[in-house]
């Protein structure tokens, strides 16, 4: 049993992206039911030990990540500054994240400006993906956020997106469109 814990730890550490329970189960050749408690135990353990990193749940998987409080120190490690997002990019990303699947026309209607360039940049950065085509005349492409988007922002899944302020009860249709449960804990 202890060996299993060690194996889970090593796999998550060595993987280059978050490992899901399914993936862990396939790699270790043990049922998920056996692996899940081990992962949960590891999460507790790292939190309790005040280690420099913790076992985060992101993008449907698990990954060791440094604790947020140390960010100002750790940035010294990277020579290049982390790329910052322009306001246009963040707006576009937000619209697609909450509204997906979204067409380019949806985004441009909301933003009021041509957004092709921003979308291309986000696609190049692998933050967006093309989901297919919409079943309306002209069959426009529809877009959604990628797995990498979740990884970058440390989200477990799309339901983990921060809740948006409710609309005033102006339009009941819009209130329905409100997705997203509140986050369970602020651990991330």
């Amino acid at each position: 049993m202890d060996n299993l814990r060690q194996l889970v730890e090593a796999f998550i550490f060595a993987a280059d992206s978050p490992l899901s329970l399914d993936r862990l189960s396939a790699l270790i050749e043990e049922p998920k039911a056996k692996i899940r408690p081990i992962v949960e135990q590891l999460q507790q353990q790292y939190l309790a030990s005040e280690c420099g990193f913790y076992l985060a749940e992101v993008a449907g998987g698990y990954q060791f990540r440094t604790v947020v409080e140390l960010a100002p120190w750790l940035r010294k490690l990277r020579k290049e500054r982390a790329p910052r997002f322009s306001r246009a990019a963040l707006e576009t990303l937000a619209i697609i994240a909450y509204r997906q699947p979204a067409t380019r026309a949806d985004i441009e209607y909301l933003r009021g400006v041509d957004s092709g360039g921003v979308m291309k940049t986000l696609l190049d950065k692998n933050l967006l993906r093309i989901l297919g085509k919409k079943d309306v005349p002209g069959r426009p492409l529809i877009y959604g956020t990628s797995r990498h988007f979740l990884e970058l922002f440390g989200l477990r899944d799309l339901a983990d997106l921060p809740t948006l302020k409710e609309f005033t009860a102006l339009d009941p249709e819009l209130a329905v469109a409100d997705p997203l449960e509140p986050e369970a804990d602020g651990a991330l």
């Binding site: 550490f13 060595a14 985060a56 990954q63 060791f64 990540r65 440094t66 604790v67 947020v68 960010a71 750790l74 940035r75 490690l77 990277r78 982390a82 910052r84 997002f85 306001r87 246009a88 963040l90 707006e91 990303l93 937000a94 619209i95 994240a97 909450y98 209607y109 909301l110 933003r111 009021g112 400006v113 041509d114 696609l123 190049d124 692998n126 967006l128 993906r129 093309i130 989901l131 297919g132 990628s146 990498h148 990884e151 970058l152 922002f153 440390g154 989200l155 921060p162 948006l164 302020k165 609309f167 005033t168 102006l170 339009d171 819009l174 991330l188």
Partner: protein, 254 residues
Amino acid sequence: MAIQIRTENFSGPLDLLLHLIKSHEMDIVDIRIVEITEQYLQIIEQMQQLDLDIAGEFLLMAATLVHIKSRMLLPVSDDIGEEDEDPRAELVKRLLEYQRYKDAAELFQQLPQLERDVFSTQFQCPDAGESDNEENEIPIGLYQLADAFHQLLKEKPPEIFHEVIRESLSVADYIERIVERLLQQKRLSFREIFSAESSRNQLIVTFLATLELVKMHIVSIDQVDDFSEIWLALMVPADQLSSISPEKDLLGYG
């Protein structure tokens, strides 16, 4: 009001409009349309005076505002039906929704970002097996697929016009170039010997040089199947090349 307003500070006309609404302490759901239109037009004019490249989108919004204003000034006619819609309704809806995503963008900015606020290990596990040119591997999706094709087509632009510049292109020089490349690479595809930015003349000379090399039994030509790639390879050991290097004059191409 002497606020310095610059388009680049706003991500679009809705953003500018929200700013004006806020700075005039209005309620989004009850915009004082006459006042806001005036303000908006003033700013647009300022931008024009500054000879800024005003995006069409900003002008489009100006037109929308003026249109709403004129509709609000018209007396409400009874004929059209009881539920006359507020001319501002659609704009208000857009503004409210835009405001929401603007807030969301702000939230995103504050979320801990990988490689900015949190870091994962960069350790490449040597025990995980040899990484066969892993650095070249790309995640796949429809975008990556379409992009790959698009890039290829961009790299192969249709031949348009070539200005004819008379150059003294010597076949002998090109023979040397091809031999040099073959020494480095052992095997070259027929396409590879032509560089992409070659002029027509250069292509011809390259071709002649290739024929010469074959004729001189320096280079062999292989093709696996009809119409498949043609491959060139050196037939002569490198150390013997210098002795059979062609005398430039003997080729007779000038």
